[in-house]
Symmetry: C3
């Protein structure tokens, strides 16, 4: 769906600087823009990045220089950009209506315009909100609630008692509500701890493919509103994620760990059980967080510590082999000094 900068200006308002016929094929963040993308910049730093990026065009406020790029000048670039994103959201290919091969349990309530694909197995007492879309081959257990506008992709499994909000997207292969990993060892046997809790996923959450959100032992495992989770992520029993968090691929949150709001976890991060991460905290990829972190911390490494401290340790580590040699040499020189001085004293 290629458009021109002129088409976009027609929709958003604003004033074009440069070639109004510049083709625009998509929209992206400035750090992830490809050729054809339109990006936005509000401050000089991002204007420089936008100028250096392969982006086709830039949405910018009056007065901000972005050399060499066709511009769309608007008063509120972020707000304009949100509308551009919606513009490029192509209509997805969703199943339509209720497939005749779907099996739907007793006492299930389907909202208006709900789609349920082939070979879905929906349990008893399930509620599915208006306009929700269930792709083929999805299993939904008993007493599950799914909010309006939510999309469940193929081969997803949702265990009983799960509550899913509105406009949630759950990608293929993901499993919501399996038992947590909890045992007590009694006489050499690992006895299973019953998991009688459930999973609650709030509105506007997106969960990638092949991720696992375990049910709580008691009470809830909860994913806060607007939080986005990538592929192959492990969320253990009784974990609570706050609102608007970002969790990158292959990260694992151990049992009863909790995140505040706007926490960002890089890929392959591990969070220890019972650890609490304050709102706004950022954890670098592959870090291992052992214990609580305050708000707005930026940590990295294993065990995770303040990122600047990690950088200092890495820098020092690189000089370690050289330092070892220096210390050995110093030992010899000191020994020589001691010898010389003791001779002097002997001869003094």
């Amino acid at each position: 769906m290629p458009r021109t900068l002129s088409d976009i200006a027609a929709l958003l308002g604003g004033e074009i600087e440069g070639d109004a016929q510049t083709p625009v094929t998509g929209a992206a963040g400035v750090d992830d823009a490809g050729p054809g993308d339109i990006v936005f910049a509000e401050q000089p730093r991002f204007a420089d990045e936008a100028a250096a990026s392969p982006a086709a065009a830039v949405i910018a406020p009056p007065g901000l220089a972005v050399p060499g790029k066709p511009l769309l000048r608007v008063t509120h670039p972020r707000m304009a950009f949100a509308r551009v994103l919606a513009l490029f959201q192509s209509p997805e290919r969703f199943p339509q209506g209720i497939a005749d091969t779907a099996r739907i349990g007793a006492g299930t309530t389907l909202g208006e315009g709900v789609a349920i694909g082939d070979f879905c197995r929906i349990g008893d007492g399930v509620t599915i909100g208006d306009g929700a879309v269930i792709f083929p081959l999805v299993f939904i257990g008993d007493n599950v609630t799914i909010g309006p506008g939510t999309v469940i992709f193929p081969n997803v499994t949702i265990y009983s008692d799960t509550e899913i909000g509105a406009r949630v997207r759950i990608h293929a292969g993901t499993v919501i509500g399996a038992d947590g990993f909890g045992y007590v060892t009694v006489d050499g046997q690992h006895e299973k701890i019953p998991h009688m809790g459930r999973v609650v996923i709030e509105d506007d959450v997106e969960i990638g493919a092949c991720s696992c959100i375990d049910r709580a032992k008691t009470a809830e495992t909860r994913i806060g509103q607007g939080t986005k989770i990538d592929n192959l992520v492990q969320v253990a029993h009784n974990v609570h994620l706050g609102k608007h968090c970002l969790v990158a691929g292959q990260t694992g949150l151990a049992g009863s760990s909790t995140l505040g709001d706007y926490v960002v976890l890089g890929g392959q991060v591990g969070i220890n059980s019972h650890a609490h991460l304050g709102s706004g905290t950022r954890v670098a990829a592959q870090a291992g967080v052992m214990s609580d972190l305050p708000e707005n911390a930026t940590v990295s490494g294993y065990p995770a510590q303040e990122h600047n401290q990690t950088l200092r340790m890495w820098a020092a580590s690189h000089r370690l082999p050289e330092m070892l040699r220096t210390v050995r040499a110093l030992e010899r020189r000191v020994q020589e000094l001691e010898r010389a001085l003791s001779e002097k004293e002997g001869s003094g």
Copy 2:
């Protein structure tokens, strides 16, 4: 299913100290207890942890003090606790009978009371033991054996020739028996090494969601009796896990690695191919085990080493930037001493 401490005493025997009407909503280990849980303690250390926990009540032997908690005094707390766990195991919602939409191959033997859910595809020559439950949307290949009382959750794939014991639980999305990752490079092409072995899962094993247990190249990949495996775990071809091991989420065991009995692996651990870990060994989260470990080792870090050694290295690493400065200063001081001494000698 809330109960009171009095209800539990009526079942287990024992004597109540404190409020007999204390509501109990679940059972947990002392390190993972929430409000409403009953826990057990046998020794002073765990009694202190129990006292400090939010647990509602504690099962304890005569004479052990657990300040501030309602107690159930019994002679054998662990044995009593095992019975409490069973008490709280709520009846799970299982499919009943053989769904008319299931497709079942030739020469398949179904035990008494077997349940097979909608849209299951069961191969030829499969044997399923009494009371086993197969949820909807499960694929089972040819010549698979499934023991009595085993539960297979939705969207699981079990490749041909797999042998699964009694009372095993396999959570949704898990794949048992896919080819191992083995190639030989011949003239610049990675030629596939045929995988003609199989997977054997012994009795009382539980496997989480979206985990992968690969079939052996020849012979077997084997999971020992009573071993519990979490979500998103990778068990490569020809791996042997002993009995009663615990393997936490996102851990990977490379080809032909072997574990003794009662080995505990934390989350996101990596075990090198062909490494053998002795019985009772414990590996901390995110550790990378490069080579064999003896029995009862406790290791951490990458490359994994004895945990106390890791702690010493971490402590030293933190002092590294400061030590660098000290060494630089020492170099200057030694140089100054050398100069001073040589002047003295020159003037001596």
Copy 3:
């Protein structure tokens, strides 16, 4: 399918040294051989490994000594070995024909001899090449192309617009073409970046179980010809893998990272977004690659660096606690020297 060395010689030609009736049950690389396997060796180093391995027999060129093993002497051992692998490739149990329970969309073209298993949901405008095999419970979206001879195992999900080449194998539970993980934060909300690209998988690729290959934001995520990917691997949006790469289990490639040809990634490796790894580069297990790597690099550790440098750092790290003590002692000795010298000077 046990054979004797004599059977194999009858097929390949060559001359037997040792017991011609040696049973051979499989074929393997020399580092991964079990009893019963036949291996090949072309150079003295591999001959020694073969001799030390439990392999039953060895394919070797004239003149190469492999003490203690029955040999098959051939002029080109690698070429002979490739034919042995094919010999042991047992006929797999594939579904036959088009299942009457499969649902196939409009405008779909099926080649000759295609098999589609029970409960598959195939979209509109799909093309499936001659002899391709789709196991039960597979979802294939609209406008997908699947090349001849390709095998898709159960419970796989392939999103719309994906292009898959010839002789590709995709194991159970894997998800191809889900949305990449991309958002732009506008007024405190993570707005979804539309993913309008697709996934292209070239010929002769094999992908393990429960892996995820995300669709591109725009343009393509691409897996090069002959590349092999293990289980639980994450390939993010716009990643390009070259030809004949090997990617071990639980490894993650972040958005827009690219690999040249013949790159080898160990297990649990992380590759940073936008990093480019030159052809022939090898990354050790659990390493974290932060930035570009040249051709034929061998790296390890976190952050990944040249492997020999990592080894030196590890060695030095082990001596760190001892070095700390040495430095403290040196400080005292230098202080003592300074004191002694200043006394001398005072008295001089």
